[in-house]
C-alpha cells in the first residue's frame, strides 16, 4: 500500500474533472486520479455544442436560456442553479476560447452559434442560435483544450488509478471526507490519498443499458461509491434517451444535425415531429423527440425491414454543410452503417445517453448528506452530480455547460476549502481495508458466474423494461431481474488473477456499481407514478405536480449488495418561473 | 533543457511480430535508403580505383578492365538502376517537401518515378549490355 497527501484530490479527468483541476491546481496542491488517460474521457464524444447567450448572431439573453433550461427540465430544475448556469455560461464559453478552444467563427470572426433542441427566443417563440460549436466535435475540442491547459499548468495526474472508495472520518460535526482509495491498474497496488477535499467528476452510468451512446467505461463508479457510503443519490429515475443514435448501435448523431436543418421522418417519409411539437418540430427537447420516435415505431410507422427505427434525413443539407459542420457524424454513418448521409437518410433510434440525476450537490458543488447538510470536504460536478440544473430532462448542450460552470465552481470551492483548513483531518482507521477486501473477494474463487453474462442480462432487461416508456409491470420485471442478477453477482469469478493491468477484475468491480445503480433507477421509476421529462410512465401519462413536484432522494440502508433502498424527497427550488404545461 | 526533449523509450523494440504493412511511401523510403547506402559504398571503391591514375596508366587500365567483365557489367546496370531510382525518388521527396500539393500526390508521383525508371532502364540496359553480350556470344567486329 502506498500513501499520498494532497490538498485536493479530483476523481475523474473528463470535462468536469479537468475544469476543476485547472482551478484547483493553481490554488492548492492537487492530484487528479483517473481510471483512463484524461483524453479518453467521454466528454470527447459530445458533438453539438455548448449553449451560452452570447448573442453573437441574433438577439438572446441568459434569462431566456434559464427559462428554456427550466421548461426543458419539466420544472424539476432547481431554478437558482439554472440561473447561475445560464448566467455563467457566457464566461464559461469565453474562458474556453481564451484557453484556445477553436470554435467555429462568424464572418466577423466571432464565435459562431447554431440552433439546438429546446433553446428558444423569448420563452418559446422560436428556435434561437445559442449553441457555440466546433464542427460536430465540440466535446472533443473541450476535452483537448482542458487537457492542454492542464499540461500548461502542470496538473498532476495519476492515470489508470481506479478509485474504489473514499475515506470518511466521523467528527463532532458529522462525517467529513478525508481522502480516497485507489487501485493502480498497472501494478494492482492500493494507494491511499489523504486530502482536505475530494471532488467527484466520474461521469455517468450509461452502461446499465444495452443500446447506449456511452463508453464502455461509464459505469457510475463515483455515484456507486457515494451511495455505498450511505450518502444519497438524487433523481436517478430520470435518464435521458438521445433521439438520434445510429439504429441498433447507439452511436450518437448530434442534435446539431437537426440544428442545421436535418429532419426526422417515419417509414412513410412523413415529418412526424410536426404532429408532436408544431412550433419547433424537430428541435423539441430530447425527451419529447425520443418519445415521439418510440411511438411512431410502436404504432407501426417505423422504417426499415422490421419497422424498428426512423430516419434522420440530412440529404437536403448538401455535401458541403455535412462535410464542414457535421463531418464526424457523416463519417460514423458511413463507417458503421454503410449509409452515406449526403445521399440517403440515416436509420436512427433513441439511445441511452445521460443521467439527469446523481450525487446531490449545492451550487458550489458541495455534496449533500441529506436535504439540508453538506459533507465537508466532499464535492461533485458533471454528469455524476445533480445540482439540479437538468431536472427531469436535460437540454442539448447543457451538459458541456454544466461541466464547465460547475466543474469550475467545484474546483474553486474545493481548493478554497482546503486552503481554509490548516491540518488534514485524520483518516479513519485502516482506510484501505474495505478496498483490499473487495479486491481479494473478486479475485478469490467463489462461484462460476461470468461477469459478461450478468452484464449482458442486466443491459437487456434495462433496455426492455426501463427505457423510453415504462409501466408498473415492466419496471417490476426489471426490478426482479436486477435483484436476481445482484444475487448471482455474489458468485462471479474472474479468470485473470494477476496484478498487472487486470482489466478482468476492473470489469467485475464496475459491474457491481452498475447493478446497484440500475436498482436505484428502477426503484425510483416505480415510485414516481407520473410522467415528467425523461421519465415516461404509460400507466401514468400525466405530470403530477401535486404529488411529485419534488426531487427523489435515495439512501442505501445497511451493508452489502442486497441492502435496502430508502426513498425520501427534497423540495424543488423556485425563483421566478411557475410550472406550466410543457408545449413546444 | 528538461521538458523539451523527446523521451527515450528504453526496452521498446520487442522482437518478433509481423512486418509493418506500411504505406507505399514507406517502401519507397526503404528502397531509397538501400540504394543510397549501396551507391555510397560503391563511391568509395570508385574513388580508390580512379586514384590509380596517379600510380600508372597500366594499373588503371588493368582495374578498368574488370569493369568490362560481363558480371561486373551487370553490376553496373544495377548501379545505374539504383542511382536512377535514388535520383528520381529524391526529386519526388523534394516535391513532397516544397510543393503545396506534394503530399497529396505522393503516391501518383511514386508511380511516375517507377514509370520513368522503367522507361529509362530499358534502353539504358540495352546500350550498357549490347557490347558485352555480343562479345560474349562470339559475334564481333
Amino acid at each position: 500500500m502506498q500513501f499520498h497527501k494532497y490538498d485536493v484530490v479530483i476523481i475523474g479527468a473528463g470535462g468536469a474533472g479537468m475544469r476543476a483541476a485547472i482551478e484547483s491546481g493553481q490554488r492548492a496542491r492537487t492530484a487528479v486520479l483517473t481510471k483512463l488517460y484524461p483524453t479518453r474521457s467521454h466528454t470527447g464524444a459530445a458533438q453539438g455544442g455548448m449553449c451560452a447567450a452570447l448573442a453573437n448572431v441574433e438577439e438572446d439573453n441568459w434569462e431566456w436560456h434559464t427559462f428554456d433550461t427550466i421548461k426543458g427540465g419539466d420544472y424539476l430544475v432547481d431554478q437558482d442553479a439554472a440561473e447561475i448556469m445560464a448566467k455563467e455560461a457566457i464566461d464559461a464559453v469565453l474562458d474556453l476560447e481564451k484557453m484556445g478552444l477553436p470554435f467555429n467563427r462568424t464572418p466577423e470572426g466571432k464565435i459562431d452559434q447554431r440552433r439546438f433542441g429546446g433553446h428558444t427566443r423569448n420563452h418559446g417563440e422560436a428556435a434561437v442560435r445559442r449553441a457555440c460549436y466546433a464542427a460536430d466535435r465540440t466535446g472533443h475540442m473541450i476535452l483537448q483544450t482542458l487537457y492542454q491547459n492542464c499540461v500548461k499548468h502542470g496538473i498532476e495526474f495519476f492515470n489508470e488509478f481506479y478509485v474504489l472508495d473514499i475515506c470518511m472520518t466521523e467528527t463532532e460535526d458529522g462525517p467529513v471526507c478525508t481522502g480516497a482509495v485507489a487501485y493502480e491498474l498497472a501494478t494492482g497496488e492500493i494507494h491511499v490519498f489523504q486530502a482536505k477535499s475530494v471532488v467527484f467528476a466520474t461521469g455517468g452510468f450509461g452502461k446499465v443499458f444495452k443500446t447506449t451512446s456511452n463508453a464502455h467505461t461509464l459505469t457510475g463508479d463515483g455515484m456507486g461509491i457515494v451511495f455505498r457510503k450511505g450518502l444519497p443519490l438524487e433523481d436517478m429515475e430520470f435518464y435521458q434517451f438521445h433521439p438520434t443514435g445510429l439504429a441498433g448501435l447507439g452511436i450518437l448523431l448530434t442534435e446539431g444535425a437537426r440544428g442545421e436543418g436535418a429532419i426526422l421522418r417515419n417509414g412513410s417519409g412523413e415529418r412526424f415531429m410536426e404532429r408532436y411539437a408544431p412550433t419547433i418540430k424537430d428541435l423539441a427537447p430530447r425527451d419529447i423527440v425520443a418519445r415521439s420516435m418510440a411511438l411512431e415505431v410502436l404504432e407501426g410507422r417505423g422504417a426499415g425491414p422490421n419497422k424498428d427505427y426512423v430516419l434522420l434525413d440530412c440529404t437536403h443539407l448538401g455535401a458541403e454543410v455535412l462535410e464542414s459542420k457535421l463531418p464526424d457524424i457523416t463519417e460514423f454513418a458511413r463507417t458503421y452503417l454503410a449509409v452515406d448521409p449526403v445521399t440517403e437518410p440515416v436509420p436512427v433510434y433513441p439511445t441511452a445517453h445521460y443521467a439527469m440525476g446523481g450525487i446531490p450537490t449545492n451550487v458550489h458543488g458541495e455534496v449533500l448528506r441529506d436535504n439540508d447538510n453538506v459533507v465537508p470536504g466532499l464535492y461533485a460536478a458533471g454528469e455524476c452530480a445533480c445540482v439540479s440544473v437538468h431536472g427531469a430532462n436535460r437540454l442539448g448542450t447543457n451538459s458541456l455547460l454544466d461541466i464547465n460552470v460547475f466543474g469550475r465552481r467545484a474546483g474553486i470551492a474545493a481548493a478554497e476549502y482546503a486552503l481554509s483548513r490548516d491540518e488534514h483531518v485524520e483518516l479513519p482507521e485502516n482506510p484501505a481495508a474495505q478496498v483490499e477486501a473487495q479486491v481479494a473477494l473478486v479475485l478469490s474463487e467463489h462461484g462460476e458466474e461470468r461477469v459478461a453474462d450478468i452484464r449482458t442480462e442486466l443491459q437487456a432487461t434495462m433496455d426492455a423494461n426501463a427505457s423510453v416508456y415504462r409501466t408498473e409491470d415492466t419496471l417490476k420485471t426489471a426490478l426482479h431481474d436486477v435483484q436476481a442478477l445482484k444475487e448471482r453477482y455474489q458468485r462471479i469469478t474472474v479468470q485473470d488473477k494477476g496484478k498487472r493491468f487486470n482489466t478482468d477484475l476492473l470489469e467485475a468491480v464496475e459491474l457491481g456499481f452498475l447493478l446497484e445503480l440500475a436498482e436505484v433507477l428502477v426503484v425510483g421509476a416505480l415510485a414516481r407514478k407520473e410522467s415528467r421529462g425523461g421519465h415516461a410512465r404509460e400507466d401514468y401519462p400525466n405530470r403530477d405536480d401535486t404529488n411529485f413536484m419534488r426531487h427523489s432522494m435515495y439512501y442505501k440502508q445497511g451493508d452489502g449488495l442486497a441492502a435496502d433502498i430508502r426513498l425520501d424527497y427534497k423540495p424543488v427550488t423556485f425563483t421566478r418561473y411557475q410550472p406550466m404545461e410543457r408545449k413546444y | 533543457m528538461a521538458g523539451t526533449t523527446a523521451p527515450e523509450r528504453a526496452g521498446t523494440s520487442k522482437g518478433g511480430g509481423t512486418l509493418y504493412r506500411g504505406d507505399l511511401g514507406m517502401w519507397s523510403w526503404v528502397a531509397h535508403r538501400i540504394t543510397g547506402v549501396l551507391t555510397f559504398f560503391f563511391l568509395f571503391a570508385h574513388v580508390l580505383d580512379t586514384a590509380l591514375v596517379r600510380v600508372s596508366p597500366d594499373a588503371y587500365d588493368k582495374v578498368i578492365e574488370t569493369y568490362k567483365n560481363p558480371i561486373v557489367n551487370l553490376f553496373e546496370v544495377g548501379l545505374v538502376g539504383a542511382v536512377l531510382y535514388h535520383a528520381l525518388n529524391g526529386i519526388r521527396v523534394m516535391l513532397v517537401d516544397f510543393w503545396e500539393k506534394g503530399a497529396r500526390y505522393q503516391k501518383q508521383m511514386l508511380w511516375a518515378v517507377l514509370g520513368v525508371w522503367v522507361l529509362v532502364m530499358i534502353p539504358g540496359t540495352y546500350y550498357m549490355m549490347v557490347r558485352t553480350v555480343t562479345d560474349l556470344l562470339g559475334g564481333g567486329h
Binding site: - | F40, V47, V53, R54, M128
Partner: protein, 136 residues
C-alpha cells in the same frame, strides 16, 4: 520624429536562445546537393556507361583526355565532394536511426567521418595533380 520607447503591450517575451540550426542545414543540404547530383551523377553515368560504347572505351587515355579540360575537372571535383557529403550525411542519419548504443553510434560515426575525409582528400588530390605523362 522621435521614436516612442513604450513597450508594446503584447510583445512576446522571448524565452531561451535560438537553438542550433544544424539539422535544418543538413536537411537543406541534402535537397540542394541532391538536385546538383541528379545532373552531375546521371550525366557522369550516361557518359561513362552508355554513350559511345560505354565502359568499353574507358582507359587511361580517355581519362587523360577528359581531365585535360578544366570543365570536366570541375565536374568531377564537384561530384566527388557533393556525393561524399551527401552520402556521408545520409549514412549519418542511418547510423542515428539504427545504432542501439551510444558507443556504437560514436565509433561508427568516427569511422564514417574519417573515411569521408580520406576519400575526399585522395580524390581531390588525384584530380588536381593528374599528370597525363606519368611514366612507370
Amino acid at each position: 520624429m522621435s521614436e516612442l520607447t513604450l513597450a508594446k503591450p503584447r510583445a512576446p517575451r522571448r524565452p531561451a536562445a535560438r537553438r542550433s540550426n544544424s539539422e535544418l542545414y543538413s536537411w537543406l543540404f541534402m535537397r540542394i546537393s541532391g538536385v546538383a547530383l541528379v545532373v552531375l551523377v546521371l550525366g557522369h553515368l550516361f557518359i561513362m556507361n552508355i554513350l559511345d560504347g560505354g565502359v568499353h572505351r574507358i582507359n587511361f587515355g580517355f581519362v587523360a583526355g577528359r581531365w585535360a579540360s578544366p570543365f570536366w575537372q570541375m565536374w568531377d571535383l564537384a561530384m566527388l565532394w557533393l556525393a561524399q557529403i551527401h552520402g556521408g550525411n545520409g549514412l549519418r542519419t542511418v547510423i542515428n536511426d539504427y545504432a542501439r548504443k551510444d558507443a556504437t553510434r560514436f565509433w561508427l560515426k568516427v569511422l564514417l567521418y574519417v573515411s569521408m575525409v580520406l576519400i575526399i582528400a585522395l580524390g581531390s588530390y588525384v584530380i588536381f595533380t593528374f599528370d597525363p605523362n606519368i611514366t612507370d
